[in-house]
Symmetry: C2
Subunit: 195 residues, 2 copies
């Protein structure tokens, strides 16, 4: 989960370390801005899903307004992002880690792995975007690799070096912040636009 | 919006009128059950998106738990349902109306119409599911027809008779409650499984 109120973001931390140009924002923020850019230039229609919440109590201070006064976060049953790109269904999860050495697999819920399996089975494009905040590097990891690691890994994490080797580094810039559709082109449409 | 806490559902109303067999539930409930069925029998992977909420204040009664104590409903910027079916991206909105004579276009937000336009443009399958609760009839209305009506209609609603003529009636049953993928087969994959 990115930026849930009970998780600290790493923005402040990065701000101290890096001389960043528009970087150092949370991964969620970067992806939202990139998706808005892709939407506006009509390249893709990809949105972040709202955070799933269990609403328990709602007050009505006035007839027309509703104020939620008791609600709780629910465990997501799907990934956070989905949409359509070049006629294909796209579905992905995004996670950032402060670890320098590996991506902890506990960051991904079992439901999300199961969901990605279904996405692949039904003909969609699925992946996980992983940011190593310490290196300010963001990778696109194909869902089939992630699923395989999830089920077979005896370690509880995927080493950074292995991700570097198996995943595709996403170029970062100002607009869009994360050019991840170039990686999608290269990986799933066999093009070389991101090379 | 279906089943928002500030909207009354028509279930109670229908319960008085109808001798229904598993019908009369809210459209949202019927669709969720149908989607779960389709998911479990591996026919499609379609989910309802969580309701978009603006979270303002969160309390932490204990270190590990978070309780949302102030939040508000946001206007949705996309449709409520999406997923993948037979390799295609599927995206739709669902609405029910108590009107006997027409479907009021104000039930659909301008963002949702714009979103459906984008879905079509990028190669997805888009539609609106409309239930006339008085007749207990549920229709699948193709997005392009709905978009056309939205922009050209001088009336502020689409008459029931016109929907009957242009849309596809969804068969209702116990499992799944709404066999809407049969309509999708017939309309978008040129099959006759729902006829």
């Amino acid at each position: 989960m990115i930026n849930y109120p009970n998780k600290k973001t790493s923005a402040a931390h990065l701000g101290i370390r890096d001389n960043y140009m528009g970087r150092g924002m949370s991964l969620e923020d970067d992806l939202n801005k990139s998706n808005t850019y892709y939407l506006e230039c009509e390249r893709a229609v990809i949105h972040k899903k709202p955070i799933p919440i269990q609403i328990v109590r709602v007050d009505y201070p006035t007839r027309s307004s509703a104020k939620i006064v008791e609600a709780y976060y629910k465990t997501p049953s799907t990934t956070d992002y989905n949409g359509i790109y070049r006629g294909r269904a796209i579905d992905f999860e995004a996670k950032e880690t402060k670890s320098k050495s590996s991506f902890p697999l506990k960051n991904i819920h079992p439901h999300q792995i199961q969901h990605l399996e279904r996405v692949l089975k039904h003909g969609g494009i699925g992946f996980v975007i992983i940011r190593f905040t310490c290196y300010d590097e963001t990778y696109l990891v194909d869902a089939s690799y992630m699923i395989e690691q999830y089920y077979t890994q005896t370690r509880k994490s995927i080493p950074y070096d292995e991700i570097k080797q198996h995943a595709s580094l996403i170029k970062q810039g100002l607009t869009p912040r994360l050019r991840y559709l170039d990686n999608v082109d290269a990986l799933y449409f066999k093009e070389v636009s991101c090379k």
